[in-house]
């Protein structure tokens, strides 16, 4: 319950900023963990760019280009402030979390990882925080090791000290599991990893959008997230890094804007953040992301977190009533607003398909987390996830839809048709 000194969300007012909820009945959109809706002020800010100061940044000596440059850099400042980065040049704009992590794997990884080194991951990781390290390991001869989870879906922190050896150069882990919702004990893990001499990359795709993340307090070395999961547009993501690390790292993508001087055979590279932003960046998208940060900050990240927690508790309660349901992951207070589940005898695809006919949008599949699926012993799950615009009404419609699916899919039980049996 909200007791701290913040304004609770005015969900009714918020929903008016999202045209997609204007239909009757409104879409029950429960797939924000995949990509969120985008509020009107964000779309409007991008339209303003396209309609009134459309131009490239950084090199234009005319008014609209200067305006574009200023708005683009202002977005960087807003993002820096959101996660409490010391300097805005520690914010690199990428396409998405995936590119941010690959940037670290290619640039920092190639310069720092050698044959025999070890990289510690967790069983919770999204493919985007796993495959880049597999590729790096293949390029360098390093080895991947995995932190397991307990039966409740929490990371098995006790194992960590055993996993960390003098060979460990890097720990890469998610802040919030996109399947189980598990909030990982990042602070302790980072301290332990640093004590062992390892750097830490945080996949914050599911945390930065939902509660306050402070990179200075966490003391993480790198942190990655996506604009499209936090009310921003598609096409823009963020990499935060510690200043010394980013400064020392070799470039990743080569091209315009990331250079200081280019000779035919060799170039010197620009200062941060330009060094890592080769070519024309996602200008409209970064500006949009800046406005998404404004939007979330105005609503209040504390209020958003509390709202999601309430929905989560409510949903856990209501879903437990559904016959044959299995809920995966820890108890509500240990997780963020994501619920993975299965219903006995119904394939998750069919659950999602039937819910769709009821105007309820959820995800079904492996959620880009196949190692976790193996661990859970399933091939796929259904998943509902919440954001600031969701209501208990959405939860009710989810539950109604699930009951409907059960009725539909079990309607012929016992009417086996021998013609098909051989």
């Amino acid at each position: 319950m909200p007791t701290a000194n913040f304004r609770p969300l005015d969900v009714e007012a918020i929903r008016k900023d999202f045209p997609i909820f204007a239909s009757t009945p409104p879409l029950a959109f429960l797939d924000s963990a995949s990509s969120t809706q985008t509020p009107h002020p964000v779309v409007e800010a991008m339209d303003r760019y396209y309609d009134t100061y459309r131009s490239n940044i950084h090199r234009g000596i005319y008014r609209i280009s200067e305006e574009a440059t200023e708005q683009y850099e202002r977005a960087r400042q807003k993002v820096a402030k959101l996660i409490n980065a010391q300097r805005s040049r520690q914010i690199i704009f990428t396409r998405n979390t995936t590119e941010s992590i690959n940037l670290v794997a290619y640039s920092w990884g190639s310069a720092n990882i050698r044959e025999g080194d070890e990289i510690v991951l967790t069983v919770l990781e999204h493919h985007s925080n796993l495959v880049p390290w597999q590729l790096l390991a293949q390029r360098t001869g390093a080895t991947l090791r995995f932190l397991e989870m307990t039966d409740e879906g929490l990371l098995d922190f006790t194992q960590l000290r055993d996993l960390l050896t003098e060979k460990t150069k890097l720990v890469a882990l998610t802040h919030v599991s996109n399947v189980l919702g598990t909030i990982t004990p990042l602070q302790s893990i980072i301290e332990t990893a640093h004590a062992a001499g390892a750097k830490v990359v945080v996949d914050a795709a599911q945390s930065v959008p939902h509660f306050r993340v402070d990179v200075q307090q966490l003391d993480c070395d790198f942190l990655a997230f996506s604009g499209h999961k936090m009310c921003g547009p598609t096409g823009v993501g963020v990499l935060y890094g510690k200043l010394e690390l980013l400064q020392e790292m070799p470039p990743f993508l080569g091209g315009g804007s990331m250079i200081r001087a280019v000779e035919r055979d060799v170039s010197t590279y620009a200062d941060l953040p330009a060094k890592f932003e080769a070519g024309t960046p996602s200008i409209a998208e970064a500006i949009g992301l800046g406005h998404a940060v404004d939007y979330l900050t105005h609503a209040g990240l504390e209020a958003i977190h509390v709202h999601e927690q309430e929905l989560l508790k409510y949903a856990h309660l209501r879903l437990q009533d559904i016959e044959g349901i299995t809920l995966y992951g820890p108890a509500p207070h240990q997780k963020a607003g994501v619920i993975a589940f299965n219903i006995a005898g119904i394939h998750p695809h069919d659950i999602a398909g039937i819910l769709d006919t009821q105007g309820v949008a959820i995800r079904a599949g492996h959620h880009c987390a196949q190692p976790l699926m193996h661990k859970l012993g399933v091939i796929a799950t259904a998943r509902a996830s919440f954001y600031l615009y969701n209501t208990t009404e959405d939860v009710e419609r989810l539950c109604d839809g699930l009951r409907k699916a059960q009725t539909l899919m079990t309607r012929t039980k016992g009417h086996e048709k021998p013609r098909r049996n051989r």
Binding site: H347, P348, H349, D350, G353, I354, T357, A364, G365, H366, Q370, M373, I379, A380, L408, M409, R411, T412, E416, K417, R419, R420, N421, R422
Partner: protein
Amino acid sequence: MNIYQEELLDHYENPSNYGTLPKPDISHEEDNPLCGDRIRIDLVVEDDTIREIRFCGHGCTISQAAASMLTEEIEGKTLAEVKKLTRDDILDMIGIPLGPVRVKCALLALKVLKAGAYGVQGWPGEEDE
């Protein structure tokens, strides 16, 4: 129209030709990387004609029902005829409109069958669009 109509559910719950063959001439298996649905098809082929067929696997109603329908369709056909089957033939069998994700579910069995019929090396690959 509800996508979970009788016909599909019938095939899903009581699939035709479900199982494996002890000595298949052709056996191929694939999964849909988007969702993990998996289908294997075993064929006994004589004189280029499909004499026996079985499929097994797991997945949603659409992928499993499509596999069941497909096996019914091709029993007794020649491999040349199988190679001519198109995505539209399958979608016609299913008989209800599907979005792009579920289309992939529907076509999984055909993909497995064709890769098997051509031999995976010689298979020209999925048609564009």
